[in-house]
Symmetry: D2
Subunit: 223 residues, 4 copies
């Protein structure tokens, strides 16, 4: 049985995530997940959701449109994401923010159809706000650190602990993970020491020359 | 000294709110406010913010763009609203919803420059969420009742009490007012009996043939 | 060599388009395309772009975000669509409209990276406007007929001829296809008789119990 | 009778446009307009539309929402703008871009209720596109020059002449004005020499210590 620890790999829209790259990362994630008994989740671009899900990796969409199935041209609904074999949705990332009622719609849709809803927020107050909606996981990512290589856990540890405190008061059962600037296993380790249930990583993995090693080392520090 | 009771009049974009109508309602609101020692607040369309503020009525904008002053064409910032003489902003109305981080930006801007932030939400969970951002007032408006003449306080009283309970847990000091389908003083009275700190009214006032009487009767029931 | 006639199948977000359905329609489209020497193009939901492209069918995305590859979470760029094996983008559908400058960005991106840009518009004036941007195909779809089963070619033939005239004046080389309410081969035939270069079809195909027959009959009427 | 020459003053959201500033500029614009027999048009922030219109200056809104009057909270419709005494709308500015069908809706609304529609675009192709919608005036503003003090007429004269050519082919009767980086009367003069019907100016006027002199000198060069 897996512990409630999460390493979420956001592959964004990098060319390094296109084509077979997403599934390659999926296979590594699956291996690391089994090795350490933690959740290593891959968020590929929408066109490669099925390919990643078929590797057996836990697969989340990077975003979702707040609609259902039907006569909607060019939208991606929770039901569509579920039909790919994915098991969750990352939403409200600071690069793709949503209206408040859209987050609520998506969290409710996820609960109804059996997907996991991971909601991002980039301040302590908005982390508190989204935790009131009952998501499965909340991710705190100070946007000024995203892509910098300066990790939130070293540069702004207090934002992690304050976010965790805020969530505990409102909805104690929701795990909080930390992201932004996570480049090495020490950043993951530090996040967990601060009380987080894991980490959200993007460019460090996608652009690494040694993805496998890095994913395994990060996963090993979740425990 | 005024009690912490609020009657907010949302004049929307009805033609009956254009031109001198907004200031006419402003004068009535000021009178009712003084008569009963409560806040009767007028939210005119943006072009008539100054005209209403000049009547001495408490004046809120119906919406605000999440920006500051500067080289922005066709946007209305909190600073601009303050410069009209208005003292607050109604935001995230179900007809004009915002992204979560925009609500946070606007609530923070209001606090910084001395405006009152009234944040609308249309479910118990989103009321809880916005209360975590520290607004001055939260308004619950189930959108399916807006404009129906069937008041939230009679048709969905439990949504008011549950919203109040949710806010109490997260941010106990924030007053909750109720809106949607409020047409008469009995709806205001019932809202207050349910624990609300007031009511949000729109078409019933704007389209009434006896605005003065209706506003006064509603204000009198706030106590 | 194919004639410049197009049957574009917009699979929208119907559950009947999920999973293997999109590729099934892709195989039929490929067959009909070869049988009649016309372009029968399939627009699946984003998660099944690769699956359709692998059938050998001409594959267009239903929508595209106006961005490039990079650190963008949950967006679908032209480059990403090309990487799936798709060869074009349907854009500005009346269910998913774009800002004018976004249409320009996407048309320019398509030209640069070798994708076909089919731009929808729902009035004669907006058809004229988008033709000035140099798309590969323009599609006119009066939104009030979409999904009705009343075809544009029978109910509003003059909108097709006026759209074609408007495009001829501005950018004579751009083919115009017609959509909305197209349910049978007679609608396709009539569109071509009016001067259109083909048709855009959605629910009639997706929800048909005899997709193969219908697609073949429609394709046969393009000539 | 005025010539068909236009100087449009976009006051944006600068603090220097707040309060009595807008009307002060309105009075200057009215004087310059009468002195030279040209249109000097003031675009104040929405809250000061009435105050500017009352000076007798030609007054345009900086933006407009694509809706009509009614139960819309916090939107500004063409009808609302007309009710302020303003006579036109500047729209689709590069700082506040619209969807294509929204531009069409607004241009049509303006025609129907008797407002002037000035549509901005920032490339030759989008200038061509919007001219197909039948606006009263088209403004070309290369966004990379906005606010730089390097004028479009000196740095990119060919973009003005190409925009004029493009509009002539599609809708010969539409005047084209030029904006971006216009700081002095020589920039206005040069724009007119290139065939433009006037200029669109913003920060140079708003932030000038000698607004009156600058507006008069610019207006004088329109002839």
């Amino acid at each position: 049985m897996k512990s409630e620890r999460y390493l979420i790999l956001n592959l964004k829209s990098f060319t390094e995530s296109f084509g077979s790259n997403s599934a390659d990362i999926g296979r590594i994630a699956k291996g690391a997940s089994e090795e350490y008994g933690v959740s290593v989740i891959v968020c590929p671009p929408a066109p490669w959701l099925s390919a990643v899900a078929e590797t057996g990796a836990e697969t989340y969409a990077q975003h979702c449109d707040p609609c259902g199935p039907g006569a909607f041209t060019g939208f991606t609904s929770p039901e569509m994401i579920k039909a790919t074999g994915a098991t969750g949705i990352l939403m409200n990332h600071s690069e793709h923010k949503l209206k408040l009622h859209e987050v609520e719609f998506l969290v409710d849709s996820c609960r109804r159809i059996g997907l996991s809803a991971t909601v991002c927020a980039d301040t302590v107050n908005t982390v508190a706000a989204v935790s009131a909606l009952g998501p499965h996981i909340v991710a705190i990512e100070p946007p000024e650190l995203i892509g910098t290589g300066i990790s939130v856990s070293s540069a702004r540890p207090e934002i992690i602990t304050r976010a965790i405190d805020a969530v505990r008061k409102i909805n104690g059962s929701v795990p909080v993970i930390a992201g932004a600037g996570i480049t090495g296993e020490q950043d993951v380790k530090r996040s967990v020491e601060l009380g987080a249930s894991g980490a959200l990583v993007a460019s460090a993995i996608v652009r690494s020359g040694s993805r496998r090693e890095l994913i395994y080392r990060m996963a090993s520090e979740l425990l």
